[in-house]
């Protein structure tokens, strides 16, 4: 891949781990995403171990998160089906939120690695593409599960000549999900990097706060859209 340097800003450089000639991994993405997944799972497992009628601090936080994801799923899919797809929506939400926040809050720059740098896993387009494709699979299987073969009727709605448009939509949905998340995360990091290279002190702080806020918002939007796509096919 051709990259050039402009005041030490690099996009698309990774720490490659070669598995074979054709297969290689992005080590830093895998490392950070594994970290995020394990931290979130540990937190959830330990937090839900002993549930009380009068919630403590951790349980309060978990209940807030549960209410949030439940309201996302409920408003998009309706009361009769939402509970089947709540785990998927909640998992995507928590993973995207965790990775974005991990990229924005943890000072990864302190750890130096041979090439590339540790950052949010969502700034690698492969992670977001994977999430988007998972969403596609989820809404296809949801439609087939709930509507059976009647699922394919939606391709000729509202009229038969909408068929090509509806087919294109199946490809454009994951593409736009993918680019939205990837672009937002990369844009945040690029803005911070450019401002840091101009004025390294204090000035980047408000931009970093904005980036943190936008990261949380992107997680919400990703989960809302995934829920909306599922809700659209099962309505």
């Amino acid at each position: 891949m051709y990259t050039f340097l402009l005041s030490k800003i690099e996009v698309g450089s990774h720490l490659y781990v070669n598995f074979s000639d054709t297969l290689h991994f992005h080590a830093e993405t895998i490392f950070v995403s594994t970290l995020v997944v394990s931290v979130i799972s540990l937190f959830l497992i330990l937090g839900t171990r002993d549930l009380n009628r009068v919630p403590g601090n951790t349980q309060n936080l978990l209940e807030v998160i549960y209410d949030l994801v439940k309201s996302i799923a409920l408003t998009q899919m309706g009361p009769s089906y939402y509970s089947q797809f709540l785990p998927f929506v909640a998992t995507t939400f928590l993973f995207v939120l965790g990775s974005n926040v991990a990229g924005a809050l943890i000072p990864w720059k302190l750890i130096e690695i041979p090439s590339g740098e540790l950052a949010a896993p969502t700034n690698d387009i492969n992670t977001t593409a994977c999430l988007a494709i998972l969403t596609s699979i989820a809404y296809f299987s949801a439609g087939l599960k709930i509507k059976g073969l009647g699922f394919f009727k939606r391709y000729i709605k509202p009229a038969i000549f909408f068929l090509p448009l509806n087919i294109v939509e199946d490809f454009s949905k994951p593409l736009s999900l993918n680019f939205r998340l990837f672009g937002n995360v990369v844009a945040d990091e690029l803005t911070v990097t450019v401002i840091c290279s101009l004025v390294p002190l204090i000035v980047p702080l408000p931009v970093m706060m904005l980036g943190l806020f936008a990261s949380c918002l992107q997680a919400l939007i990703f989960a809302t859209l995934a829920a909306a796509y599922i809700g659209e096919v099962i309505e």
């Binding site: 996009v11 939205r180 672009g183 937002n184 690029l190």
Partner: protein, 83 residues
């Protein structure tokens, strides 16, 4: 020679992509924010709901600019036209 022309064209293309991608969402976000302020002024008790919806829709409009940015980034850092 061809490579330098392609590089120069790529830089200009990146600038144009981001610049034009900013126009439409800018107008849209301005409209949305204006309407939201009007709504809050008319009905201050609905502020929480309006703010939530506004932020969500602003983020959707923002993603249009981001598409332009992705095109610009791929042209700058992962140019498919350079040999």
């Amino acid at each position: 020679m061809v490579d330098s022309i392609v590089s120069a064209a790529s830089v200009i293309a990146a600038a144009i992509a981001v610049g034009f991608a900013g126009i439409g969402p800018g107008i849209g976000q301005g409209n949305a924010a204006g309407q939201a302020v009007e709504g809050i002024a008319r009905q201050p008790e609905a502020e929480g709901k309006i703010r939530g919806t506004l932020l969500l829709s602003l983020a959707f409009m923002e993603s249009l600019t981001i598409y332009g940015l992705v095109v610009a980034l791929s042209v700058l850092f992962a140019n498919p036209f350079l040999g």
